[in-house]
């Protein structure tokens, strides 16, 4: 399949990017450092390791997704490697999807690496492998897929610096979304309130993918939320990708 070809090529290109390894290194440092940090606490030590680990995975994963995603299309346009590719008998959407899946594959590998380090540190601490953590990580991965699609969207029409800023803001607002809800109730009607409402509806509630609290405290998670979160994630991602395809289609490559 043509999308597969482009995806693999993107993967090969992405995996050579040094930023990935830099971020991976930092994530590893954080996770291992948490082991030391855990020594300072009075009481449950594993909790600290788990908290730091999950947050690192989420944060560094998001950074990887954003930093690589914003360059995906932009680099091709800027370096003109795109020209000979697009005149081949492929649809523009195939190109875009190929780039998307290539990056998703890269993120999957990177996240797996980080998870291995994370699980290893926990294992050495408790001599147990905690499989529920994988569940939280799975949802972090889903969140990353969504963020990647947003970064890709911005990459279609904006420069890397602006795109990174937008994507990062998107990520942050997404996590504050539930707070927006309360904020809206408290605000007086006016521009502030309408802006907040707009943000609330358009920016996805990324907290839907955040199961850190539950996993760390071993709380039961209602199975319904798994289904809904997954569907929400998939639909939102599809929506963003469609937008990206539409924008990309209209683009003139001077």
């Amino acid at each position: 399949m043509k999308i597969k070809a482009i995806a693999l090529n993107t993967f090969k290109e992405a995996i050579r990017d040094r930023i990935l390894y830099l971020l991976l290194f930092f994530a590893a440092v954080c996770i291992i450092f948490s082991r030391i940090l855990a020594l300072l606490t009075v009481g449950d030590r594993v909790k600290i390791i788990k908290d730091v680990g999950l947050t690192s995975l989420s944060l560094f994963g998001a950074l990887m997704a954003i930093l690589m995603g914003v360059g995906l299309v932009y680099k091709e346009i800027d370096k003109k490697t795109l020209y000979t590719l697009l005149v081949k008998p492929i649809h523009r959407y195939q190109f875009l999807l190929g780039k998307y899946f290539g990056l998703v594959l890269t993120l999957f590998i990177m996240l797996s690496l980080m998870s291995l380090i994370f699980l290893a540190v926990i294992f050495f601490h408790t001599f147990r492998v905690e499989w529920q953590i994988l569940l939280a990580i799975l949802y972090i991965f889903l969140e990353l897929c969504l963020i990647t699609s947003v970064a890709l969207l911005f990459s279609c029409f904006s420069t890397p610096i602006l795109s990174s800023l937008f994507s990062l803001s998107f990520y942050l607002i997404g996590h504050v979304s539930w707070g927006l809800e309360t904020l809206i109730k408290k605000l007086r009607p006016g521009t502030g309130k309408t802006l907040a409402q707009l943000l609330y509806h358009f920016v996805p509630d990324l907290e839907n993918f955040n199961f850190k609290m539950e996993i760390v405290h071993k709380l039961p998670i209602p199975p319904k939320i798994f289904l809904f979160s997954t569907l929400y994630g998939i639909f939102y991602t599809l929506f963003v990708l469609t937008l990206a395809v539409l924008i990309f289609r209209k683009r003139d490559f001077i």
Binding site: Y83, T84, L86, K88, P89, K250, D252, F253
Partner: protein, 305 residues
């Protein structure tokens, strides 16, 4: 003969600048390219050559007009299966080797594996890169990139090959090789559409040309039609005479190392010179009748605008 490429009344403007001002680049281009010919697309820089080519390829969306390739709409997959494109200053994925790169592109054509392997080998040989198959593209020189670009444009054995300024930046040997390849492609039955402003090469290989200036086609036809064959003047290089002796016979061009270059316009003056040389025992080093070249035509036509 069927038209391989047909453009009718193509218009395109761009919005440029911070406060977008509409600038019209193509102002109604119409041309047609016939099967099996090498078509030259000429024009000064900024005339709209590359824009036209990109419109043909679908990299740019045109505003008005129709483009058909082999009778199909130019954006259809059937059309794209039959074309190959080499851009100006090609640039490809650095870290891939030449073979890997061609492999990747061939995957977009859904070719059989065995077919792919053979094709890639043949192409690399054709462009003279058979030894560089495993070298990473970032180590390629400009000329090598041009060749690999040509190779990728031929992967699908296209019937129409579009080349945007393919001879620019090549050394004379490279240019000759490329010209030879283009002629060979024509012999295989392909149609070539190339844009350039190196007129000598165009003149050597093209069958028909179109000249575009400021977004409009001002001349289109076979070289034969456009350039008259009458002799404009004759260039004579002779020695053994002083300037005043040659006065009135022509315009003295330059004098170097005892040799004079004379541009003789009139036929009868030429006869006089020949007689003179014979009588005075001078020497004629060269006698070259000059017909109108493409360059002459080009300069004249462009100046008119």
């Amino acid at each position: 003969m069927a038209d391989v490429l047909r453009i009718e009344d193509l218009h395109k403007s761009f919005k440029l600048g911070f406060i977008p001002k509409k600038k019209k680049i193509l102002k109604g281009i119409s041309l047609s390219v016939e099967q099996g010919e090498i078509f030259g697309y000429l024009g000064p820089n900024g005339a709209g050559k590359t824009t036209t080519i990109k419109c043909i390829l679908g990299l740019i969306h045109h505003e008005k007009g129709k483009i058909e390739i082999f009778g199909h709409p130019h954006l259809s997959l059937q059309a794209k299966e039959k074309i190959g494109f080499l851009p100006e200053n090609p640039y490809f994925y650095d870290y891939l080797t030449a073979s890997e790169f061609l492999h990747f592109y061939s995957q977009l054509f859904l070719m059989e594996k065995k077919e792919k392997e053979e094709k890639i080998k043949d192409l690399l040989e054709l462009v003279g890169l058979e030894k560089a198959g495993d070298l990473q593209l970032r180590k390629f020189s400009r000329g090598m990139l041009q060749r690999v670009g040509l190779a990728q444009s031929l992967l699908n054995d296209p019937s129409l090959v579009l080349l945007d300024e393919p001879l620019g930046g090549l050394d004379p040997l490279g240019r000759k090789e490329l010209r030879d390849i283009i002629v060979r492609l024509k012999e295989e039955g392909k149609t070539i559409f190339l844009s350039s402003h190196i007129l000598q090469d165009i003149e050597m290989i093209c069958d028909r040309v179109a000249i575009i200036v400021s977004g409009e086609i001002i001349s289109q036809g076979t070289l034969h039609e456009l350039i008259s064959e009458k002799i404009l003047f004759t260039e004579v290089i002779l020695s053994g005479f002083e300037e005043k002796e040659l006065e009135g016979l022509g315009e003295s061009f330059s004098v170097k190392g005892g040799k004079t270059l004379l541009r003789v316009l009139k036929e009868e003056n030429l006869e006089k010179i020949l007689k003179l040389v014979k009588s005075k025992r001078g020497k004629i080093h060269a006698l070259t009748p000059r017909t109108e070249t493409l360059e002459d035509l080009f300069v004249e036509v462009v100046k008119q605008r």
